[in-house]
Amino acid sequence: MEVAFYLSGLVAVLATLGVITNTNPVHALLYLIVSLIAVAIVFFALGAPFAGALEIIVYAGAIMVLFVFVVMMLNLGESVVAQEKAWLTPKAWLGPSVLAAVLLLTLIATLWLGDIDKVIEGDTLTAKEVGTTLFGPWLLIIELAAMLLLAALVTASHVGRLSAPEKPAMNKETGARKEHS
């Protein structure tokens, strides 16, 4: 269990590095899928198999396929790779990286000095317990998630609508096209 946790954690970090430094969107997307699957293995190793299965099905299966479809629709070519290479200069990434590193150091120092003293034994928490929690005291959260998904559906279908191509004018009553003379 420990070996699985540390190995897949290392894979997740390396794949995430690959995502943020890659210049090709499709390659970055594939690295992101590897990273998500590695995090799913971390969940399995920690004893949360329901979350791990959800991570693979919903994240790597559904959300990433959505990304892949959109990248395919955009039809990105070599020019995008060249543009990304031109943008990714040391001047551009050095400042944000230093800021993120300082934030990370602060977080790690806080965790180190915090004296948490908890060890994850890896006892499995099954889907049954999660379901009992979700549909018992947490029922309102489920309703909230449903509302959130409905709002996202409406927003995405409204925002994502591209203007339709110009149609020839129709006659209102008969539905027949007007004759141009």
Binding site: V19, A51, A101, L107, V119, A156
Partner: protein, 102 residues
């Protein structure tokens, strides 16, 4: 050695969050920005799972379900915006849409 100390799980979540934050700040292509947001949300979910399993309670996984729902909603709206950006400006550069028209 039996078991993973809770700090190590939280450190992994912190590393992933910092990587996502750095990517969010230094990329200009909107596809990469959305991917960095996914990384950050995923690391927040990982922190919930670590907390939940450390105490042996199922609430961590229940909260992860909400995080994953939020990520799906965010991805769908973000990708719709991405399609609009590409349709109107013929580019994925987020700086192209920095000007308001009133």
């Amino acid at each position: 050695m039996s078991g993973v100390p809770m700090e190590h799980g939280l450190v992994l979540a912190a590393i992933l969050f910092a990587l996502g934050l750095a990517g969010l700040m230094f990329r200009r292509n909107m596809v990469f920005i959305l991917m960095s947001l996914e990384i950050m949300l995923n690391s927040a979910g990982l922190a919930f799972i670590v907390g939940g399993t450390a105490w042996g309670q199922p609430e961590g996984q229940a909260m992860f379900l909400l995080v994953i729902t939020l990520a799906a909603a965010e991805a769908s709206v973000g990708l719709a915006l991405l399609l609009q950006l590409n349709h109107r400006f013929k580019t994925l550069d987020t700086d192209a849409a920095s000007r308001m028209r009133g």
